[in-house]
């Protein structure tokens, strides 16, 4: 009898959820009371952080329709924030690996944490989607053999685009000019970056001289590591679809029609070097995604399967964090948020059906609401 009453009370509570927003817009201050609630992001900040990628395409569409960018505060993000707060930065950087089924919100968690990192003054190194470099191959993909490393392949345009992304994300830190290059870099006979010039100059060079973009990225990552070690900055590394680096082959072709393996790409080498835990004063957030896996259907969504043996060994001591489907409460707040934004309409019966047919999956729920 008691349990029945409890259940009825629970149901009444879950149906009467009308508060779905929170005014707490600073991720550092968010706590577990606000789980399932939405907070709104400033538009300018959005442009700065996610202007060159970082939010899933479908979510971008939503922000346009809803005329605002809102994130749901969810357990995995809060968990990582708690961990970061408690981290001793003198120890080697900790690697967090996000995993979960398709559409559960791994990329959204990364986006949420980017906001946190930006607020806390981290230097952000963010790769929006690894497979954009290695698997999405347009017809005129620019490719060149590396000048500095024997047997490696450059993808200069992608590297330059990423440099731009890095520059916009960290414009505040870079503008102050405190981050300096440690030694001389000679690109060609006439072009060189002397020791003591700012990181911004290095990046500008990479953007202007696209030919050297990959080498600039390599140098940049190396310099950032050094800077972090010397406590001049703290670094936040976020790589979405990290398992893309460990796939057997990429979709890139050499002019002789030979398929390129991921480890033969210079960018891969640089980022794999970065994700080793041989440096301090940093946080690394990686996500493994079934979509980045080459097989059409996956047996499992767990990192061990998706990263293969070598990937797993590469990042071995890591903290796995699971991003799961919506809980009952999260689902209800999400539904009322959608109703507020006119995305979900019709009788309350529809929510019951959508709850079961979407199996609480955030992405699926959003898609199922679309034609209603």
């Amino acid at each position: 009898m008691l349990s029945r009453n409890l259940r009825i009370a629970c149901r009444r509570y879950s149906q009467s959820v009308t508060t779905f927003r929170t005014s707490e817009i600073s991720p550092a201050q968010q706590n577990s009371n606000q789980i399932g609630l939405f907070y709104t992001l400033d538009n300018d900040l959005c442009k700065q952080l996610y202007g060159h990628g970082g939010l899933p395409k479908c979510f971008l569409k939503q922000t346009k329709t809803f005329t605002e960018t809102t994130f749901m505060i969810r357990q995995p993000a809060l968990e990582i924030i708690e961990c970061i707060k408690a981290t001793d930065f003198n120890k080697p950087a900790i690697r967090y690996v996000l995993h979960g089924e398709e559409g559960t919100g791994k990329s959204m968690t990364i986006a949420h944490l980017l906001h946190y990192a930006h607020q806390e003054g981290f230097l952000i190194i963010h790769v929006p989607w690894v497979s954009n470099w290695l698997r999405r191959v347009s017809r005129y993909k620019e490719m060149a053999n590396s000048l500095t490393k024997e047997g490696f392949v450059d993808i200069p345009l992608d590297a330059a685009a990423w440099l731009l992304h890095f520059k916009t994300q960290n414009q505040h830190l870079l503008k102050s000019g405190e981050l300096k290059v440690s030694k001389d870099y000679e690109w060609s006979k006439r072009e060189k970056t002397p020791a003591g010039s700012t990181l911004l100059e290095l990046i500008e060079h990479g953007i202007v001289r696209v030919k050297y973009a990959c080498d600039v990225v390599d140098t940049l990552l190396h310099e950032v590591k050094l800077l972090s070690n010397t406590k001049q900055c703290k670094t936040f590394v976020a790589i979405d679809g990290y398992n893309g680096f460990f796939n057997p082959l990429t979709n890139l072709h050499t002019p002789t029609k030979k398929k390129v393996a991921p480890e033969e790409v210079t960018l891969t080498a640089s980022f794999l070097e970065l994700t080793k835990n041989d440096w301090t004063n940093g946080v690394m957030l990686l996500s493994t995604d079934a979509i980045a896996h080459p097989e059409y259907e996956q047996e499992s969504y767990l990192p061990k399967y998706l990263l293969y043996r070598k990937g797993f060994d590469h990042i071995d001591p890591f903290v796995p964090i699971e991003v799961s489907n919506y809980t009952e409460k999260e689902f209800m707040t999400c539904a009322s948020y959608y109703r507020d934004r006119l995305w979900l309409r019709g009788s309350p019966d529809i929510e019951k059906e959508l709850k079961i047919t979407s199996a609480h999956n955030p992405y699926r729920f959003m898609e199922l609401c679309a034609p209603l």
Binding site: R11, D349, K352, E353, I356, T357, A359, N361
Partner: protein, 401 residues
């Protein structure tokens, strides 16, 4: 003993022979007689159409009548003989089975025949049987003409007087209803909605049944015409005035029995009520569905949750009976399903859940489910390919040569 068996066998043989073939020859002639069946409508027609004056003048009996009387006598003799053989055979059969011949009913006969002559022939009509002769040999018409050779029935020369009389009557009814309708319209009244004919619980006679009813063989086209005319009659607003006429050619549908046999749920180790529906079939899929109450709306399909089905339509199908009854968060569902594709599997689970839920909902909800068609099993299967054509229905492309 052997004589008895022989006799009963002989009887069976005579009956299992195609009875229609034997009688068709008789049927070809227009004069028919049967002692145990006479048609009443021809009796009063007899009064109307027989020309007594001419009859009195010539007392001669026509050749046709003579032949008819001869055949009628033969038939009577034949039937008598069959009747006798049947009763004797029945008594023998009773003795063989070691039962009392006096209380040996037709049911016992059928059982004994099935026991003594087990048959695996697919069509039940082709299996050995032993029935009273009046059931085996079709009823035949009485004489349709008088002694002078003049037919009683005014539609005699159509070849199928009873059938065309039926159409004739139907159209007369239609005319009458039109007249009545016009009268009512003149009075500016509207038809009474409560008096409307209730036709959902009965159907038209099938072709065979109609043939039996009319004692006439009709063609497919004629049967279609019959249905057309009757449908028109029924569609009229005042068709209830011809209710008696209409109901003569309709038969009631056997009422549904499922509501009576709702099983009681049993209890599992945790003390929860559960019920398992086996043989949930749809297309090529088959499986079983277990429903546990009280539950929290957990759905398990082959060990996975509802993500077992990738497409939305299948998921909707599975959830539909739960949402329809409002039980989506009060029961747990477990299914084991195999064979077929996602649509078939989802359909099978849908039926299984609806069937199992009967034990957990009240009577009015069962009625609602019945009206929604959730309790009807869908027996449709893939139609087989036919030899000589590329598909089940598709014919080869036409070629001049």
């Amino acid at each position: 003993m052997s004589r008895i068996l022989q006799l009963s066998l002989r009887h069976i043989n005579s009956v299992t022979k195609y009875p229609n073939q034997a009688t068709n020859e008789l049927l070809k002639n227009c004069a028919r007689a049967n002692s145990n069946k006479t048609r009443t409508n021809s009796d009063d027609l007899f009064q109307e159409f027989t020309d007594w004056e001419t009859l009195n003048k010539k007392k001669t009996v026509s050749k046709a009548m003579k032949a008819y009387l001869e055949r009628a006598r033969e038939h009577d003799d034949f039937m008598k003989k069959q009747e006798f053989e049947f009763t004797v055979g029945k008594r023998h059969l009773a003795n063989m089975m070691g039962e009392d011949p006096e209380t040996f009913t037709q049911k016992d006969v059928d059982r004994a025949i099935e026991y003594l002559f087990p048959s695996g022939i697919y069509d039940p009509a082709a299996r050995p049987l032993m029935k009273p002769p009046e059931e085996v040999f079709p009823a035949r018409k009485a004489a349709e003409f008088d002694e002078a050779g003049r037919p009683h029935h005014f539609l005699f020369y159509t070849g199928r007087p009873n059938f065309f009389k039926l159409l004739y009557d139907a159209s007369e009814h239609i005319q009458n209803i039109y007249k009545f309708e016009d009268k009512v319209i003149r009075k500016k009244a509207i038809p009474d909605p409560n008096a409307k004919l209730e036709l959902t619980s009965s159907v038209w006679y099938s072709k065979e049944e109609l043939e039996q009813h009319l004692v006439e063989n009709i063609t497919e086209l004629e049967y279609e015409n019959f249905k057309l005319v009757m449908e028109r009659l029924v569609s009229l607003p005042y068709s209830y005035r011809s209710k008696e006429f209409i109901e003569k050619v309709r038969k009631p549908i056997a009422s549904q029995k499922f509501a009576l046999e709702i099983p009681k749920p049993s209890y599992d180790e945790e003390g929860r009520e559960y019920i398992t529906t086996y043989e949930c079939l749809r297309k090529k899929a088959r499986g079983d569905v277990t429903i546990r109450s009280p539950g929290s709306g957990k759905i398990t399909i082959n060990g996975k949750d509802i993500t077992y089905f990738a497409d939305t339509q299948s998921r909707e199908q599975v959830t539909f009976p739960l949402l329809f009854t409002g039980m989506e968060d009060r029961v747990d569902v477990e299914c084991n399903i195999e064979g077929g594709g996602p649509s078939g599997q989802a359909g099978a689970i849908r039926w299984g859940i609806a069937w199992g839920l009967r034990s957990f909902v009240d009577k009015s909800m069962i009625d609602s489910m019945q009206v929604a068609g959730l309790l009807t099993r869908d027996p449709r299967k893939r139609e087989r390919k036919k030899p000589g054509q590329p598909g089940a229905r598709k014919k080869p492309t036409w070629k001049r040569r």
